[in-house]
């Protein structure tokens, strides 16, 4: 088994008993914090598909998080709380947005791609900010928790945690399959050498666009979870700084592996939460940590793990 897979199984094994441990410590709230980290792990995984496997540096990925959150929020505000409706709507909306913006963005390369995805992210942000029927810039409280065929998967923080963990595991397995499929190999090939891929008969555009859409759709699942977790939907989910944070999670965790982003997201959210408890000026040490981590480590957390072997 590859190192990445082994590290992931260990991670799942460590995560599984955490809520019980937190209860025993008398800190049950940490389960809630960890759930948030797992939601971002899903988002980071989705970003890694295009960033790590497709070399597409999207600086607007937070938009998909927001699309998912708003799909849940707007439907809930109109009385539709079933995930059986919310998830397909979120997936469809995110997929459609990704196909349209991706088709334009993927005409560009390098820095231009980074910038145009940023611009589309900002457009989505401003659009939601002006949706005054759904809270506009303020956002809105989630009218009701999402249900699944009448069941209440987010009813307690414990249930929420395990539902999120299960989704994370499922998405991890799905992406593991996708990255090792024919499609995944073509995607990885375009990352390595686009001209070579064209010379053997692949037009990268279609593959890239497909990956871009899959990535956006998975991120929207994280968005639906995030809306339920915060019981709130806000345009601030879609800001460009959030996109930057997601890139940091992927790169600091180790991009192009499927375990790296998960570890990166967990480390990122937990250290953010921990620093915020120490000082209101937590962004200073946090920024410094990002700078130092990128400058002095290569290959992210997983790379460090690999280096020690």
């Amino acid at each position: 088994m590859r190192l990445s897979d082994r590290a992931m199984l260990v991670t799942f094994a460590v995560l599984l008993p955490m809520p019980a441990l937190f209860s025993a410590m008398g800190e049950p709230f940490l389960t809630v914090v960890l759930t948030r980290a797992l939601i971002f792990a899903i988002a980071a995984l989705s970003l890694d598909l295009i960033l790590g496997f497709g070399a597409m540096v999207s600086f607007g990925h937070a938009a998909y998080l927001g699309i998912g959150a708003y799909a849940a929020g707007i439907l809930a505000a109109n009385g539709v709380t079933g995930l059986e409706v919310q998830l397909p709507v979120a997936l469809a909306a995110a997929g459609a947005f990704a196909l349209v913006t991706g088709a334009i963005s993927l005409r560009t390369r390098g820095v231009h791609f980074i910038m145009i995805t940023l611009a589309f992210g900002q457009m989505a942000y401003f659009l939601m900010s002006s949706l005054s029927a759904y809270g506009g810039d303020d956002g809105m409280a989630l009218a009701g928790r999402s249900t699944l065929f009448g069941a209440d998967p987010f009813g307690s923080s414990l249930r929420f945690f395990y539902v999120t963990l299960a989704l994370l595991a499922g998405i991890w397995a799905l992406l593991r399959a996708v990255t090792r499929s024919r499609f995944g190999r073509v995607l990885t090939g375009t990352r390595e050498n686009e001209t070579r891929m064209q010379a053997i008969g692949f037009s990268p555009f279609g593959y890239r666009l497909t990956a871009y859409a899959i990535s956006g759709m998975i991120a929207s699942v994280a968005g639906v979870l995030l809306a339920n977790h915060a019981a709130f939907v806000s345009p601030s989910y879609m800001g460009w700084a959030r996109s930057g944070e997601m890139i940091a999670m992927v790169v600091l965790g180790g991009m192009g592996t499927l375990t790296g982003p998960v570890l990166g997201a967990i480390a990122f959210i937990l250290s953010e939460e921990a620093l915020a408890r120490l000082t209101t000026h937590w962004r200073l040490p946090f920024g410094a940590a990002v700078v130092l981590a990128v400058l002095f480590t290569r290959g992210g957390l997983l790379g460090a793990l690999r280096g020690r072997r």
Binding site: V32, S130, G136, D138, G139, F232
Partner: protein, 387 residues
């Protein structure tokens, strides 16, 4: 009595007087915006509350208090998380907060459902005043529209055409709605600007072109600083400037002379002539070396309100109904003078129009021009089912 001083886990450098986790003590969460450029308001609120607590020797209604100060970062999703943490981890009895309406709307539901009382030191959103009023929520401030209604009523007799401007978010629309509710003249135009805009040259040109008799602005915090200065620079000061939350003690240190003579409206000003207020302003300025704003005054009142209620129930926090009734009674000495709660747990109090002036010591503050409304009932109270 010797007291153990402990630094709250959430705010290094903020020293509070409290005993750790006493079963019979009272736990208070103070949720304010303490980071980002919006932090100035939150710092006022926090300092006002802590000043009152210090005056009371760290006790509230005779109980030892533990105060946990948290930063909502002005992000509703972060705020909800921190609120849940206050309930689940810290098991607070009361939360004093927040500073902005969007955060207030996000946290009030989860907190009150968990049986926690919420005292707002500033936002009084309409959604919590009318049909959505909440037995465990008390606005120690005002209903959001009221300051605007005061100014609207005042301007009605003075300007026939008024130009309105506010940021493009819910509170902006609410505040302009409040103004229009009492303003009887003609609205020249209504502009909504993006929240993150800093340069208002285009809007000022439109105001100049419209040549109204007066301008009414709701441009809170940093927006107001820039707007007021640019208003002056554009040579528009000949058009009378009325506002709410645009020129106050939070923005004046930056606006300085540029805001002098500009009007605002509210339920309090540093020069409000009550004995309690004189003492509060003096103590606040002595401790923090700046002029208190209404956010500090409200938070200060919230602490004394809480003190009075806990004392009234004899420290028995478990009896929520009794505590609610005691809070509702508002049997405390407010810096605002006469103060009581209406059926919807929003205050009944007097409102004033104020004007910015430079003090003898070179600092700037708002000063009361005249009392405009006497103990008005807010526009939404009738829809509230609570009696």
């Amino acid at each position: 009595m010797k007291r153990i001083t402990r630094i709250s886990a959430l705010t290094a450098g903020l020293v509070l007087t409290a005993l750790p986790a006493l079963a019979e003590g009272v736990k208070v969460g103070v949720m304010m915006t303490l980071s980002g450029s919006a932090a100035v308001l939150g710092e006022q609120g926090r300092d006002g509350f802590l000043l009152a607590l210090e005056e009371m020797g760290g006790k509230l209604g005779g109980l030892e208090s533990e105060v946990i100060v948290v930063d909502d970062e002005l992000k509703p999703d972060v705020a909800v998380n921190r609120a849940r943490e206050l309930v689940e981890s810290h098991k607070v009895d009361v939360v004093v907060g927040a500073m902005y309406s969007n955060v207030q709307m996000a946290i009030t539901g989860p907190l009150t459902e968990a049986g926690v009382f919420v005292l707002s030191p500033n936002p009084g959103p309409s959604a919590l005043a009318g049909a959505g009023c909440n037995p465990n929520f008390f606005a120690v401030s005002y209903q959001n529209d009221q300051p605007d209604e005061v100014v609207g009523a005042y301007v009605s007799g003075k300007a026939a055409r008024t130009f309105l401007i506010a940021p493009n978010y819910q509170a902006g629309k609410d505040h302009l709605t409040g103004f229009k509710r009492t303003y009887t003249g003609e609205v020249a135009d209504e502009l909504y600007v993006p929240l993150d805009q800093m340069d208002y040259s285009a809007e000022l040109a439109q105001i100049a072109a419209a040549a109204p008799d007066a301008v009414y602005a709701f441009m809170p915090g940093g927006l107001g600083v820039n707007f007021v200065r640019q208003y002056r620079q554009a040579g528009l000061e000949t058009i009378p400037f009325y506002s709410t939350f645009t020129v106050d003690e939070v923005t004046l240190p930056a606006q300085k002379k540029d805001a002098v003579g500009f009007h605002s409206g509210g339920d309090w000003a540093p020069d409000l002539d009550t004995e309690r207020n004189r003492a509060f302003v003096a103590a606040f300025e002595a401790k923090y070396d700046r002029v208190p704003a209404s956010y500090a005054a409200h938070a200060y009142d919230a602490a004394y309100l809480l003190d009075s209620a806990i004392r009234a129930v004899g420290g028995n926090l478990a009896d929520k109904d009794a505590l609610r009734a005691a809070l509702k009674a508002a049997d405390f000495d407010s810096v605002r003078g006469e103060f009581s709660f209406g059926a919807n747990h929003f205050p009944l109090q007097d409102f004033y129009v104020t004007r910015v002036a430079e003090r003898a010591d070179g600092k700037f503050q708002t000063q009361i021009v005249e009392k405009v409304l006497e103990k008005p009932v807010d526009a939404y109270a009738a829809e509230c089912p609570m009696k």
